[in-house]
Assembly symmetry: C2
Homo-oligomer: 270 residues x 2
């Protein structure tokens, strides 16, 4: 398929060291900001960026006390801090970027995100770049729950126009057959039969000790079942451009390892 | 009238010195947080707080460059910082407070705010306290414009259930007949005939050099025409409680100076 809209998620591990509170690699932010500026210039209103929580998000979740159900509110501030750092880097690169607090525009109903899209669509309509992240969301039962940045494409899917591609940039080149430091990447996941991919994660669990890849796979399977074409690949801020994100599936760089997750429809559209 | 819902706005001048960047009086925040905690305990789900931008908001507006229409985005971060400071103070006082980025949930259509109320109503439904503020809002024409915290009650009016009272706490006791340091407070403004009140602001302009009282009056006249009962009064964090905010109009403390702005309906309901 050729995407009409791309949502790119930049994993926290690419720009923040979880083990160091407040860690933010400004050089990496600047590099990604330049790359995203190029994309926005060529595809205005057709891109959204989602940033991982890095040290900020994990810190907020770790510090929560068990007896304080509402303590998760700290996550919304932590995520806003990260979004603002990205917004500043993007603005320095000439992008009309705008940070959006997901918790203010989205609730969870039986686990399914329900977003109010007005502001997001307004920003896209004027060619601006929405900067999104995970957050703590209120459920219809009145609970605050953590909502992974990997699931944000799921929020956008019913909202943005046309065919959506979701690309998750992380610190591994995809779902691996041979462990964390391996290079044997599972190329395709059928969203309607993801069992084999889950099996790989179970048997290779040491390289996914936090379950992060599990979360990504589940989120992207949901998106793909909804019609999106999804990719997991290694983020690299030193590339010349990210134009391939908007390329037709058949034209993606042959040498670029990635795991593609799509349904039958997306495959046919390719 | 007896309000079903109260939105209380705490003016920035009460807790922040505009002339000092980053100014935030934590002692005042703590005192208000305790007062608001009492109100939430007695009226769960029937209160929202709006905080002024203080030094943060004014700094963000001042620093904007004329050639950078999107530069106003800094206001959303500045306002979030203030909301978070209030959220922390309120949480320390035992309140389930949650900061909401207005810019993520509200657009302006021909100057009229259109909000997505799901999260706000969800928070109220579980007895939590939404912490709101002014912000930069996206218009349907794709512009970013500054939206005063004084206008936030206007956002809530069509959204919250029942009869709404909007109370603006500021550093003067109401609209004054005899200048800034005077004590002759205009007691009543008929929302359907606010001319005399505007006249007072024009002739007494030296005490309203920033036009702040103009903004308040215009915002509250709009609210009152929509059925709310509105007050402007001096904020005092040293009082024993703020229970009078929920009192029937007739039972408000006789000795408390204030300007009341209401339409005929609200007057009849009183």
């Amino acid at each position: 398929m050729t995407p009409d809209f791309v949502v790119v998620k930049v994993g926290g591990s690419l720009f923040s060291d979880k083990s160091r509170p407040g860690s933010l690699d400004q050089q990496v932010l600047r590099a990604y900001a330049e790359l995203l500026a190029g994309l926005v210039a060529r595809h205005p209103g057709r891109l959204a960026v989602v940033v991982g929580g890095g040290a900020f998000g994990h810190g907020a979740i770790r510090q929560r006390r068990d007896d304080d159900a509402f303590g998760l509110v700290a996550l919304t501030q932590a995520c806003f801090t990260v979004k603002w750092a990205w917004t500043e880097a993007l603005r320095a690169a000439g992008v009309d970027a705008f940070p959006l607090q997901l918790a203010a525009m989205c609730t969870l109903e039986q686990g399914v995100p329900r977003a109010c899209p007005d502001v997001l669509l307004g920003l896209l309509g004027r060619g601006a770049l929405p900067v999104l992240s995970g957050d703590c969301l209120l459920t219809t039962e009145g609970e605050l729950v953590s909502f992974s940045s990997d699931r944000v494409p799921e929020v956008l899917l019913p909202v943005v126009p046309g065919r959506m591609r979701a690309v998750v940039l992380t610190d591994v080149p995809g779902i691996l057959r041979d462990g964390r430091d391996g290079g044997d990447v599972l190329a395709e996941v059928d969203a309607h039969d993801p069992g084999p991919a889950y099996d790989l994660l179970w048997t290779q669990s040491p390289w996914d000790s936090t379950g992060a890849m599990h979360t990504k796979l589940a989120a992207l399977v949901t998106c793909a079942r909804g019609g999106a074409e999804c990719f997991i690949l290694r983020g690299d801020h030193t590339v010349a451009d990210l134009d391939f994100l908007f390329a037709p599936t058949a034209d993606l760089p042959a040498g670029l390892p990635r795991t593609r997750i799509a349904g039958v429809d997306a495959a046919a559209a390719a």
